[in-house]
Point group: C2
Chain length 305, copies 2
């Protein structure tokens, strides 16, 4: 299993000297995803050694400046780097209007295909699905239509117990069936060997939920129930609850409540208001609800093994 999440930005709308607007890079099996793309993301990618050329899918949660302003520059840079591979972008319709206006007004012709996937924030939607990964969007509750994203590792094939396969003389032609979980049955039907004898169990598939930006809402909890790792915004301390409600954001305490109620394994918090220099007070508040919580520090890599 390969899961590596790199935080490229953890600031809310106003960036600070050391905190950039929202962006994350997720390496999951053979895929490299970019999640949101605030101003300066392409420079943050350079800083943390993320190769632009390896990213084929970009997910944008909503059309607020601090989640999208880095996208035109990233695409222009990809073009200058002679990119030829198509790129899939998932986001609200308006995002593509903005990109089209930039492309219309420049002489830098984009020489690769931008495959537009218009998201909608009213219901869950499968955005990408194949043998190895599945990506689902789900509604968040913010001032403009906003989606969260869940990245699932699909159930992978089992690993062969080669020693036992040899011992029982299992023909190579049966290997795929066995990897898929079937028992071995010989041609004459006389020999049956249980699958558990011939394979090793894989770990439980990994899942990661990205929740930004959103106010506290029970429907979010239902959607992310039981995922391994959650990123949840924590713009304010709970003493600013009124401001959080007014701007449709969450408090650090609420982020912890969501993680606890959804029975997740681990929580990352981010999207911090520029008023907070010391992020530990936010983390402590979250931990009062959910102990296994961490600050999504810029440049930090969260690896799941």
């Amino acid at each position: 299993m390969i899961f590596e999440l790199t935080i490229l930005g953890n600031s809310s709308a106003t960036p600070t000297l050391n905190r950039h607007p929202s962006a994350q890079h997720l390496r999951m099996l053979d895929y490299q995803f970019l999640i949101d793309c605030g101003e300066g993301t392409q420079m943050q990618m350079q800083r943390y050694k993320i190769k632009k050329s390896k990213i084929n899918h970009i997910f944008i949660s909503h059309i607020h400046a601090d989640h999208i302003l880095g996208l035109p520059g990233l695409l222009f840079s990809m073009n200058l780097m002679q990119r030829k591979d198509p790129i899939h972008i998932y986001g609200p319709e308006t995002l593509f209007e903005i990109l089209d206006l930039y492309f219309k007004n420049t002489d830098n012709i984009i020489n690769f295909e931008i495959v537009k996937h218009i998201t909608q924030a009213e219901k869950n939607e499968v955005l990408l699905e194949n043998e190895s990964v599945k990506v689902v969007s789900f509604p968040l509750f913010h001032r403009v239509p906003t989606t969260g994203f869940i990245f699932y590792e699909q159930k992978s094939l089992k690993k062969l117990n080669k020693d036992n396969c040899k011992k029982y003389n299992i023909p190579v032609t049966e290997f795929l069936s066995i990897k898929k979980g079937n028992d071995y049955i010989s041609e004459d039907g006389k020999t049956i060997i249980k699958n558990s004898e011939l394979t090793f169990e894989n770990k439980k598939p990994m899942s990661y939920a990205y929740c930004s930006d959103t106010m506290y809402d029970e429907r979010v909890i239902q959607n992310i129930e039981g995922v391994n790792l959650v990123y949840h915004e924590a713009t304010f301390l709970h003493e600013k609850l009124e401001r959080a409600i007014q701007t449709m954001h969450s408090t650090a305490l609420q982020a912890g409540m969501v993680a606890k109620k959804a029975n997740v394994e681990k929580l990352l918090i981010g999207h911090f208001s520029s008023r907070y220099d010391n992020l530990d007070i936010l983390l402590n508040e979250t931990k009062s609800e959910f102990e296994n919580s961490f600050i999504a520090n810029e440049g930090e890599k969260f690896i799941w093994e």
Copy 2:
């Protein structure tokens, strides 16, 4: 005289880890100007302690991504900081189309006035003029309509020689006329005192020309003839002349030629291609034509006294 230029970005289209796209901050007398606004400019302003709230005039040379992508974020941040003062933006018409599309699609209503000044790149134009400063745009020669800008300190009033004014019993009511350079003539016309006896000479007014992006063209030289300080792009070494011509940029050697032929006092070069790690080789090439040349290093302040 107050003249302080801070370099916020000196990279060409593809930013590098340490070089941001084009942006400069100019403090001239009572004015604070922003010149171009590449991605990340608002963070660079924080880094180099430039206050967003003090800027009332923004000049954009042309609609290429590396000169404009920081503008929407800067304006949104100004708004979040409760700005009320109008801001004057000078740039091509398309710039305002792009800004309008962002504003149309956000719920963050901009609560200050954006005064739009549409520039045109066919001829010289006075963009701003008053008793203390004058800003002129002039054509550059690039792939899209592009203007340079010249910032002039206006001829300021002379400084009174108070001791001599007292000695000659000059009435206070005559002081303004004398500061403007007139001789003193008594009411009966009998006493005439030369202005040079009553005032100190001020230094020559300061002028600064911003030339980015442009290919080498003699018409640029005519426009910036005799200014004190010039910033000129130097995207490539002269060995890449063919590439410079193809992309309508200048070489470091050509930047030096322009400064020499225009009889300027001092030259700054910037807008470097990301292929150059070592900027000294570019500077050396420029100096072979014009000795008083400097790298426009990020964060560096050029002060004129």
